[in-house]
Symmetry: C2
Subunit: 228 residues, 2 copies
Amino acid sequence: MHELCLPVGIPQNDVAILEQIVEKSPPIPKGSHLFNAGDNFSAIYVPRSGALKTVHVNEEGEQAVVGFHLPGELVGLDGLASDRHSLTAEALETTSVCRVGFDQLEAVARKIPALQRQLGRLMSKEFLKAENHLLLMGNRTAEARLAIFLISLSKRFEERGFSPVEFNLPMSRIDIAAYLGLASETVSRLFTNFRDQAMIATEGRLVTLLDLEQVQNLAGESAAEGAL
Amino acid sequence: MHELCLPVGIPQNDVAILEQIVEKSPPIPKGSHLFNAGDNFSAIYVPRSGALKTVHVNEEGEQAVVGFHLPGELVGLDGLASDRHSLTAEALETTSVCRVGFDQLEAVARKIPALQRQLGRLMSKEFLKAENHLLLMGNRTAEARLAIFLISLSKRFEERGFSPVEFNLPMSRIDIAAYLGLASETVSRLFTNFRDQAMIATEGRLVTLLDLEQVQNLAGESAAEGAL
DNA sequence: CGACCACTTGATCCCTATCAAAAGATGTGG
DNA sequence: CCACATCTTTTGATAGGGATCAAGTGGTCG
């Protein structure tokens, strides 16, 4: 599915039509921006390889990470409400994306009711992600936040055919901290703790989950819920 | 606009059509549920009077407040992704709502492209609200959170033709705390502090903003952003 | 090779949760 | 209409989790 740059659950017979409006862009380098807050909203994107983060930068320059986007995951719907992006999307590593012009997508969707509904579902899913993120930030210990984060990543990698127990984090500790609402020092310390308890092994950004059950314990039952 | 049970920006000529699919339900009493997490998703709602909160109740029974919904504000889109509601909507006081069957809304939208786009915008706006809530919870002091909350409420009341400086909170301190990710004691103390500094006056749930500028200072510039 | 980040680890402090208790509210049934 | 039960709100005391400040190490890129 994500080879076709289409995130999820599109009926087979509609794929051909969609393929026509998908543009494959050249890879963008690490650190560069796919779009910036304030840019006109013209398209949604799906990474084919690499990874993105979406961030909100406030007036004081602090940046809050709103989401991470692995291959096959949607980016860019934040611009739909006002025709301008409210977030900035930045490549965490060299990343190639598929671009789907929104006007064209709407035109196609108008002809195919099933696709129209899928589009609505897709938006709603983005909403649920934000909601889950919210629940993560509200009233959980730093330990639980990181545990939930690791489990969420594990699931997402697994869904994409990668190992759920050993993966490379595309993002820095600083980004993780900004995503979880913590200080980067705290995140670093937690990784150390988890390692000392033999729950995980780390080597730089390579993470191995050694005792998944224990991680899930720390995460609470909430880990069973939807992927972040 | 909210007299017609339609939240925002619907072109005049489409209103007549929409009126046909809007059902006005009898008022529901305080504490009762408009829908529960797990319920089938069949409609979206707009309060005409009263107020609602949407909550996520986890396995341990703790409840996180995801949003408050004043008259004219949309409720229920959380169910779209999976055809089941992920949240519970509870009346904070006696509340009457308009119900818009989603199948019917989709059918109408299919005939009117402009409406289709509005619907997308509406969903995206819900997404932005969640995102703002997220930024609120991440890395802000309790003081700043409450200040932002008060300013957001002020704006929303103003948009509905009520006084922006004196209003009755429909929700308890406990609900506010659960929304802001704080303990209810902390919220109570903050109200006291704000009152002691002559920023606000309170009498139970009646709040008067005495020094809006100072409240905005505490909130940081972020208060200038979108309504929560 | 040097400058600049990312990361780790340590020490300290402060904000806010938690525990406790009392004083309003609110609502119910007799 | 009052009395009792229950919930909300306030205020106090205490403790702890995580932020902050600081310094050193390691990795990366120009």
